[in-house]
């Protein structure tokens, strides 16, 4: 079956670390209905990991899964979803996924696998060797205690320089809940490092010489790839530049399209000037510069080039070369990352000399990347750093840790924004040293428990950005009003959904966004201007549904939801419209199996609802509305007293949000009282057996207890 289908590699690899057993499954025969990625992850956890399993139990499983389009020339692919029970999820661990880019997904496909399921626990440190058909569990005792960098180096010496190594650092080894697995220098999946550590799994290394077959006509494929390239914007599919340009009707200073003519990669040898046309396909990599976006104009001087995932032209990771940090801090002068990973070090400080975009901030980022990306520490989307800020400046910290330990930190350096402070705090978290190091690494939930701090202390304070279950907001009302809020209620970690935010922040004028919204979601009222919100309506609920469905679809196809969907474009001649069917067009050509947009979205919805079922079962309750789909109090406040639905505030209204959740449940076909999918909803998605399983546990609406 799989052999006839293009796109799929064809096999799922299963490794039992307890018994050493290595086995294979047929991807299409067993997992076609959930495609790949998070789909395979949720299915495995549903069928094989019973409720009540703890993250560090041998019975927990980690599913590294990519999708049909990974390893091909489709722009913005190369993604691997890593699904497991998250130790940072509080008060009780639930299913969640980390997502890592880099080259792991492509290599796994070329090795012949769509997914890897790791189960059990090894009795000593091991690493997994995967080279095409050869899979071995190898001794990693010589690597235990080393960082990600050395582990990658030594494994590459053994396997060959082209192998891709996904490794944990000391943080994961030490079972710090805020830990990652990382491949290709800077590409991490958050939240899962400790689960690998608990399994004694130091790394998974892949080398593959095979191929991903394109079933369709190769000329048609080439045309579609080129079409996709032509409608790309910059990072996060921002489709207008941040600067005025004669070739662009619009510009928006908040856009991530920062590569203006005249800017240059100053640390390339020799420097590379940005030239050419704004829409040249041979200049796509110059559009985005995460270094410049986060650290200001100074970063251009230190930019070597962009880097990123296999096949993606965007290069949202920035390689920075800052010679001063070698002499000052004894660290490498070259580092690379993007977004939260790039600002890991800076985020610890409430202020720094020169401000958030000054030289100290730049150095702090370099120091942060150097340590966090080697120790394998996770920021929990910046929550780690915000927690320290709150604990310190509220005075809470002083009351919670012993005076000796308190005195062992250079708090003057912390208050003054001295990057040297990072050498004191970051290693202690990764190594669980001292009370502060231990507490911070637990994640917010564990930290609140550890020090008996009521959760309300966090949920009332907008500065924490805390949302629920031990994790922060991620593109909520600050970006997208009620749509953002709905999305943020749905997951068991910070919502890793960018479908909505990519569109809202794409830089187009609101009038154009509304025109596109009418085409895509049926009404211009599906979108508001950020910070200029109107009361909830059904169109926003439909857009929230679309966002979530596409997020799971991308995660299951190996595509990047930080770029997709591609419903807007930079092209005036298209009315700035993109293509809402791009995913299904690529899927059809790659596999040879014709699927419409609706067909594929149904699968995306199936995957999303499977996550819902896992959450319900994990919580032992179907009261999602009241117990899971929570919002923090701070979204209903405005420190300046502005009222909801006035221009300039992101303040939400509780009744309006209650209505938002109701409308969302309505468009999903879920029970409004509980927010739980009904039997009919499961059946429509082919999840009848899931419904039956929940019915037995009285977790299905309408089944009486």
């Amino acid at each position: 079956m799989a052999k006839e289908k293009g796109g799929f590699a064809g096999k799922v690899l299963r490794v039992d670390l307890s018994t050493g057993k290595i086995s294979l499954e047929d991807t299409v025969a067993k997992y076609r209905e959930v495609l790949g990625g998070t789909g395979i992850g949720y299915k495995v956890l549903w069928e094989e990991v019973p409720a009540g399993t703890a993250p560090f139990d041998a019975g927990n499983k980690i599913v590294f899964a990519t999708g049909v389009l990974a390893g091909t020339g489709v722009p913005c692919n190369g993604r691997t979803a890593v699904t497991t029970l998250f130790p940072s999820c509080w008060p009780q661990p639930l299913v969640a996924s980390g997502h890592m880019g880099g080259h792991f997904a492509a290599k796994l496909k070329y090795a012949g696998y769509d997914a890897l399921i790791v189960e059990g626990k090894a009795d000593r440190p091991v690493w997994l060797f995967i080279r095409d058909g050869r899979v071995e569990i190898r001794d990693a005792r010589h690597l235990w205690g080393t960082g990600i960098r050395r582990a990658t180096l030594e494994i590459s010496q053994e396997m060959g320089p082209e192998s891709v190594v996904a490794a944990i650092g000391q943080a994961g080894e030490n079972r710090v809940p805020l830990s990652v697995v990382m491949n290709s220098v800077s590409h991490s999946a958050g939240g899962v490092g400790a689960v690998m550590g608990a399994k004694n799994l130091k790394a998974v290394a892949v080398q593959g010489s095979g191929s991903v077959r394109i079933a369709g006509d190769k000329s048609e494929w080439e045309r579609l790839v080129k079409f996709h390239l032509s409608i790309l914007g910059a990072n996060n599919q921002h489709v207008v530049p941040s600067f005025p340009h004669p070739q662009s009707e619009y510009y928006n200073p908040t856009s991530r399209w920062v590569g203006a003519p005249g800017k240059r990669w100053g640390a390339a040898e020799p420097p590379v000037e940005i030239n050419g046309g704004l829409f040249d396909l041979n200049r796509i990599s110059f559009r985005s510069n995460s270094g410049a976006f986060y650290l200001g104009d100074q970063a251009w001087r230190y930019t070597v080039r962009g880097n990123g995932c296999t096949g993606c032209p965007i290069r949202c990771h920035t390689i920075l070369k800052v010679p001063s940090v070698e002499a000052k801090y004894g660290i490498r002068e070259v580092a690379q990352n993007t977004c939260g990973g790039m600002v890991f070090g800076r985020s610890f400080f409430k202020q720094l000399p020169g401000g958030l975009m000054g030289p100290a901030a730049l150095e702090a980022c370099m120091v942060g990347m150097h340590m966090a990306d080697d120790l394998g520490l996770w920021c929990n989307y910046g929550q780690l750093q915000r927690d320290l800020i709150k604990l310190y400046y509220d005075g809470t910290l002083k009351t919670k840790i012993g005076s000796d330990e308190y005195a062992s930190f250079s708090w003057d350096k912390y208050e003054n924004g001295d990057p040297a402070f990072l050498f004191e705090i970051i290693p202690r978290i990764a190594m669980r040293q001292g009370e502060l190091g231990e507490a911070l690494g637990l994640g917010t939930g564990g930290l609140l428990d550890h020090w008996s701090i009521p959760e309300e202390t966090w949920t009332q304070d907008s500065a924490t950005a805390y949302w629920k279950l031990g994790h922060p907001k991620h593109h909520a009302n600050e970006d997208d009003g009620q749509c953002g809020v709905i999305i943020n209620t749905q997951y068991n970690r910070d919502a890793q959904c960018h479908s909505h935010a990519n569109f809202i922040r794409n830089g187009l004028p609101l009038a154009v966004q509304k025109k596109l919204a009418a085409e895509i979601w049926g009404s211009p009222e599906a979108v508001d201007g950020a910070g200029d919100y109107t009361p909830m309506n059904i169109h926003k609920a439909r857009r929230a549904r679309w966002s979530l469905v596409r997020k799971e679809l991308h995660d299951s196809l190996g595509l990047c939801n930080w770029m997709g969907p591609w419903v807007a474009s930079p092209l005036k001649e298209r009315g700035y419209s993109g293509d809402d069917s791009l995913e299904s067009r690529f899927y059809s050509l790659a596999t040879g199996e014709k699927m419409s947009r609706e067909d594929l979205d149904l699968i995306g919805e199936r995957i999303f609802v499977l996550h819902r079922a896992l959450t319900i079962r994990g919580m032992g309750s179907m009261e999602m509305r009241t117990r899971h789909d929570l919002t923090p109090q701070w979204i209903y406040q405005d420190l300046s007293g502005a009222q909801s639905f006035t221009k300039g505030t992101i303040r939400m209204d509780p009744l309006d949000i209650a209505r938002a959740m109701e409308l969302f449940y309505e468009v999903m076909g879920w029970d409004k009282a509980t927010g739980a999918p009904t039997a009919k909803a499961y059946a429509r998605l082919g999840l009848q057996s899931v419904a039956d399983g929940l019915a037995v546990k009285k977790l299905l609406p309408g089944v009486e207890g």
Binding site: G73, K218, V272, R283, S285, G311, I319, Q336
Partner: protein, 248 residues
């Protein structure tokens, strides 16, 4: 060949001699003088030609174009490798790509034990892409091929594998000093950069302008070969080499 190279001198040599300003009746001394510079001379005069169908291929016309890869621009996205294979072979297979970046992606040509010389993602952040130099005569891969299966593309002059003639012996792979020849396990044939009929797909695909298709020049004397190659010349070919390269 007889020692006194009178009228039996190959026609090609006569033309070369005339173009070099030497008289039609070459003395042995004049012929040796011509031979010494024969390769460069013929290349410069562009009068080298493939011999008749039943003669071993010795001299191949220079290619017209060349792929240049600029490591100061390369962003390591591998779109070139994907375009090369997807758009030509209908499958995404970087290990088969005729332009090669993936092998240098992580640690650069030095490899993981290169210390401070490590390039690539884990080192300096510089990505080196290797492209076929479309070597001038003597073309290592063509010379090594016992089946004369590497020939010049009529349009671009790119050294291409004639898949009908290729028997899959892999001698060309061993002969290339820069390790640029691939072997396609599916077809059991060698494959190499053929410049896509003058419109290289990798050049089109590169999102940072790191690849250019430029007029050919001889790159074989720049940059040391990456590996020890197996210099193979079959006996038949060696004999034909004597047409131009007589021992003194």
């Amino acid at each position: 060949m007889k020692p006194d190279m009178g009228p039996e001198l190959p026609e090609m040599m006569l033309r070369a001699a005339k173009a070099a300003g030497l008289g039609a009746g070459l003395s042995r001394r004049e012929f040796l003088f011509l031979s010494a510079g024969a390769v460069t001379g013929l290349a410069a005069l562009n009068i080298g030609r493939v011999w008749g169908a039943d003669a071993p291929i010795i001299i191949i016309d220079n290619a017209k174009g060349l792929l240049l890869a600029d490591p100061s621009r390369c962003v390591g996205c591998l779109r070139c490798e994907l375009a090369c294979t997807e758009f030509n072979d209908g499958r995404a297979q970087p290990s088969l790509s005729r332009i090669k970046v993936g092998r240098n992606l992580n640690f650069g040509p030095e490899g993981p034990s290169g210390g401070v010389r490590v390039q690539g993602a884990w080192g300096s952040g510089r990505f080196i892409a290797d492209a076929c130099r479309q070597c001038p005569h003597p073309v290592p891969c063509a010379t090594a091929c016992p089946e004369n299966a590497i020939i010049a593309d009529p349009v671009t002059g790119a050294r291409i594998v004639d898949t009908f003639a290729c028997v899959g012996c892999r001698l060309c792979q061993r002969a290339c000093p820069w390790n640029m020849i691939n072997f396609d396990e599916q077809s059991q044939k060698a494959t190499k950069c053929f410049l896509c009929q003058g419109h290289p797909k990798c050049v089109e695909a590169c999102p940072s302008g790191a690849l250019r298709y430029v007029p050919w020049r001889d790159l074989t004397r720049e940059a040391a070969p990456g590996r020890a190659a197996l210099r193979v010349v079959s006996a038949e070919k060696a004999k034909e080499c004597l047409d131009c390269h007589l021992p003194r």
